[in-house]
């Protein structure tokens, strides 16, 4: 985490944390409201909910976990994780396509 060095920095950090906190609360309320909008398309409902969750996830990881100002080593660990996570999700989606699988008949 980046260290707040003086009182001014500290106040700036607190303001930023509070902003993220309010944004997360608003994001949660918007997610619930959007799910009750009676949208008939399931795909659109899923897309809206996951988009808001991704924005909230970015705020937590970026500001509360201070990933926006971390050392290269941490980014290296995370990039490796993203690579394997993406591979896992790709395999999941790929396995749902019956043509890509060899089925035992």
């Amino acid at each position: 985490m980046s260290d707040p060095h003086d009182t001014h920095d500290f106040q700036k950090s607190v303001k930023r944390y509070l902003f993220v906190f309010y944004a997360l609360i608003v994001g949660t309320v918007v997610t619930v409201m959007a799910s009750r909008l009676h949208i008939n398309s399931v795909a659109l409902t899923v897309a809206i909910a996951l988009f808001i969750a991704c924005v909230k996830g970015f705020l937590v990881a970026g500001y509360f976990m201070h990933l926006i100002s971390e050392k290269k080593m941490i980014y290296g660990i995370l990039l490796t994780t993203v690579f394997f996570f993406a591979g896992l999700m790709y395999l999941t989606v790929w396995s749902m396509n019956p043509e890509s699988l060899v089925h035992i008949r």
């Binding site: 399931v42 050392k71 394997f84 999941t92 989606v93 749902m96």
Partner: protein, 259 residues
């Protein structure tokens, strides 16, 4: 023997060792929860039309738990910032709120689990199905607060709000009329199985995180006097784990409660 790099950064990584350690651990946690999310996707997409339940969980309780975890996240980061400014009493207050939030989260989750264990699906001998919460269970009859399931109508439900519009009444059922009865525990269907697995594993993380934070806050607080920088680093590391727990819930909430 003194352990190296618990406070000062290693020259090659630029980080103290525990920080590299926690991020490697969190990377493995991403893969653990990723595998379970992958299982969720496969179960959900593989479910026959109309078979995946909607509106089974109380959205308001899920939302309350989300807010509780968000509050705990900001108190964790504020506790760390307080230590950076040598304000130990503020740190104690913020972390006390974090621990209270953890207990609140677990309390709400326990209530939700209990709600599923008293929620029953009852198949009657005449082919009808009753679904609802058990109010009474004696030797001769059970009383359910719920509704008769219309399978054709149930298949059309694709959103939680549609399920919420179903009217519920008190239904007494003679035990001799019951063919099969089961609560909404983990074995009920694939949805409850993955719901209990994901939220159970997450709750274990909340318990683990709260124990660590509680130890550092209480019995382990003496280190603040002997080695304040190392103590502050401990708060940072436990905080990173706590934020990860919050991050996982941010995705669990819409996936399990709203979609």
């Amino acid at each position: 023997m003194e352990i190296p790099y618990v406070v000062e950064p290693r020259p090659d990584t630029g980080l103290f060792n525990a920080k590299v350690g926690i991020w490697l651990f969190l990377a493995s946690e991403v893969m653990l929860f990723g595998a379970l999310f992958s299982a969720y996707i496969l179960l959900r997409v593989g479910a026959a039309p109309g078979e995946w339940p909607h509106g089974l969980l109380n959205v308001w309780l899920g939302m309350a738990n989300t807010i509780v975890l968000i509050v705990s996240s900001i108190t964790v980061v504020m506790a760390w910032a307080s230590l950076k400014f040598k304000n130990f009493s503020n740190f104690k207050k913020y972390q006390a709120v974090t621990l209270l939030c953890a207990l609140t989260f677990l309390g709400i989750k326990s209530y939700e689990y209990h709600d599923k264990f008293v929620h029953y699906e009852i198949q009657l001998n005449d082919g009808r199905v009753v679904d609802g919460h058990m109010l009474e269970n004696d030797a001769e009859k059970v009383v359910i607060h719920g509704h008769y399931v219309d399978k054709a109508e149930a298949a059309k439900v694709t959103h939680g709000w549609q399920e919420a519009e179903i009217k519920e009444i008190e239904i007494p059922v003679k035990k001799s009329d019951i063919k099969y009865m089961e609560n909404y525990g983990p074995r009920h269907n694939t949805y409850t199985a993955i719901y209990f697995t994901l939220t159970g594993l997450h709750a274990l993380h909340v318990i683990g995180g709260a124990l660590v934070i509680g130890f550092i806050w209480g019995p382990g607080a003496g280190m603040w006097k002997t080695d304040p920088e190392r103590y502050t680093n401990r708060i940072e590391i436990s905080g990173l784990f706590w934020h990860f727990v919050d991050l996982v819930w941010i995705f669990l909430f819409p996936v399990l409660y709203l979609l």
